[in-house]
Amino acid sequence: MRTAALILALAPLSAFSQTIPSPVPENEVFKREDIGHALAAPTPQAGHTAASAANSPADDGQWVMPSKDYASTRFSSLKEITPENVKNLKPDFSFSLGVNKGQEAAPIVANNTMYVVTAYPNIVYALDLTKPGAPLKWSFAPKPAAASQGIACCDVVNRGGSVDNGKYIFNTLDGQTIAVDINTGKPLWRTQLGDINRGETMTMAPTVAQGRVFVGDSGGEMGVHGWVTALDENTGKLLWRGYNTGPDAQVLIGADFKPHYAGDQGKDLGVTSWPPQAWQIGGGAAWGWLTFDAELNSLYTGVGNPGPWNQTQRPGDNKWTAGIFSRDPASGSARWFYQYSPHDEHDYDGVNEQILLDMPFAGKMQKVLIHIDRNGYLYVIERNTGTVLSADPYGPVNTSRGIDLQTGRPIINEEKQTKLGQTVRNICPTASGAKDWNPSSFSPQTELLYIPHENMCMDWMNAEVSYIAGTPYVGALVHMKPGPGGNRGELTAWDPVQRRPVWAVKENFPIWSGTVVTAGDVVFYGTMDGWFKAVNARSGDLLWRYKVDSGVIGQPISYRGPDGHQYIAVLSGVGGWSGAVVSGPVDPRDGSAALGMVNVMSDLPKYTTAGGTLYVFSLPH
């Protein structure tokens, strides 16, 4: 043994040193002015942009769902904290979550209690906000199957729960939806929806409305047959399930289905736009945001990427992946569909947030849905019909040359189409998108969106892959890299009416946290290297920052405490796809690790370590 050790010690050390790749050159991406399109010129004089009262009722100071309101504004009407005094913000209390994995959830505040769900093993904590230090009222450990950790594509995250009608409702990694009594923490019902042996996990935050719980699956990298499901809020009983690929009967496409674009009209397109049987393992998960529209009584359900990533194995439009359905919340029946990325070649899931606003367009007020897609475009969609009113790039784009507003389809740039056995370089945006799941906010005061996003590109080579149930179904070798300029993240304030950015803050790392904006005109967000920041909503000027124990990828909130004061809360705990190099057992020496993300994040271990802590801040009072 000693001899062996000596021999091995004499072997040379690794010749390879990890470096962050050079940024993609500026001239590799298209200019916003050249590829952004709209059906009509801006008409700001036609009215004020805001969410309707039905979707964004008067703020009661609580924060009962991750999106704040059905409109998904993440706007807090509280204004005790201002650009002038935010520099005095201090931590009020913190609480260890006991789990050092990526913490993506929004803390929920209802009845003077704060509810937090952790990454796997999905422990729920209830903290009593009426007492000093917010002591624990109860905790609930759902004990999800440990094996589910092995089929979660991008860290074992959970994006939060919701409080409604005396229940806290959340999902577990192993595919359960659970409702617990908000006063006792005792489970009222738990419904097993996903099957880990088919690659199904659940990481999304349920949407609760009209006595129904709307949930969807994760597993777009595992060859799942993606779905959205509605449960009875009182019993957990399954009300309906709509698949995102397959025959119309499974997708819940019937007589009510009236898609705007010709390419989405026809029988069983969820079968015929795939090679034989490929739809059965074609992904189309629903792991992001499901948005209930109280005004139009609709449910908007974003659909994830098609599988496998190797597009050469699935010629066709691969419906209904990488798009959005409007569904009847009572029956699940589809009303319209729009496909952001037909035959997606770059993992551009369509699951990012939908923000429901009344907005002036073409000289009149229109009911729109704003969706900021992974494919790099910010879409303004008329939400009665699913008509795209405008689509503009907000990040680096070269996979397409704009969206054709007659057909609704991206104008494909053939140079960035992926190939079998051949690496295509400098594809923008990267697989995780110009922006991933982490939600934007909207202020009716500034009429701006606050978009936390990425500035990253990638090299991609397809490889043949076989489907083996319960294992990844990907078939691509990806290496990510910084976008033009080298800053991997950006916070952009965007004017949806004028279709342009108003200001932007560059960040070294991709921004993987959500944003919250307040009536005090302050925007809060966190960075992956562990700074929780406040910027001026009108200028982007940095007003305050606080170093937390680990990188921030959670969703900050603003609420009124029992004492009447304004509080800001956020989880720290780096991880997720972009942070797996810190939170997971992932090696920075392998650029292809974590689906190619490590190539562009290998320096993160120098800046932060894994953690999991709730922080609550307020002004001295």
Binding site: A4, I7, L8, S14, I151, C153, V586, D587
Partner: protein
């Protein structure tokens, strides 16, 4: 039966009198058979002996010093979607395999056992689903990923592309020690920051 087994057997028999050693009393085999069990040791804790027990599966020898084994293992690693979770050794959905940590042991027979049985935190079980010969070849490739020679052969950001054959020396270890010149100090390899 080697003297090591005899040591183990004697210690175990003593412990059995106190109700120890036998992990599953309900399906207990007669104590006298304990010493003959050529099970793969999954833990660095080995009560009753002053050093960790090293067993030796006779099937291992064929995969040592065997370049074909690691190269075939590399191909199978892609074909069976191992790379979907473990990438090219750096991990992702599954753990890093090119570092110096062996949770379930780094001897070939221990790796093989992990592939056959699966592991509770998300490693599927492949026994009976993949030919055993291929599981051994995969084991050899996985063991090769953290060999200093394989690490040294890395020329770009995709490691484990030139896997070195597994030397017999590594099998003299009980499976828990990091090899010299393997490292967990990833950050030391990162350049171009700040």
């Amino acid at each position: 039966m080697s003297s090591r087994y005899l040591t183990k057997f004697a210690a175990c028999s003593a412990l059995l009198l106190l109700g120890g050693c036998n992990r599953n009393p309900q399906s207990a085999a007669p104590p006298t058979e304990q010493g003959d069990v050529h099970g793969v040791i999954d833990s660095a804790l080995d009560p009753g002996v002053d050093h960790s027990l090293v067993t030796s599966d006779p099937r291992v020898a064929a995969y040592l010093n065997n370049a074909d084994a690691v190269n075939t293992g590399k191909r199978l690693f892609g074909q069976y979607n191992c790379s979907g979770c473990h990438s090219n050794g750096g991990g992702g959905m599954g753990p890093d395999l090119m570092d110096d940590v062996w949770t379930y042991g780094g001897r070939l027979e221990q790796i093989h056992q992990t592939l056959v049985q699966g592991r509770p935190n998300g490693m599927p079980s492949w026994g009976g689903k993949v030919p055993d010969e291929q599981l051994w070849q995969l084991s050899a490739y996985v063991r090769s990923m953290s060999l200093p020679q394989t690490l040294a052969a890395q020329t770009d950001n995709t490691p484990s592309q030139s896997p070195a054959p597994v030397p017999p020396e590594v099998e003299q270890d009980a499976g828990w020690s990091p090899l010299p010149a393997t490292t967990n100090d990833y950050t030391s390899t990162i350049k171009g920051v700040d």
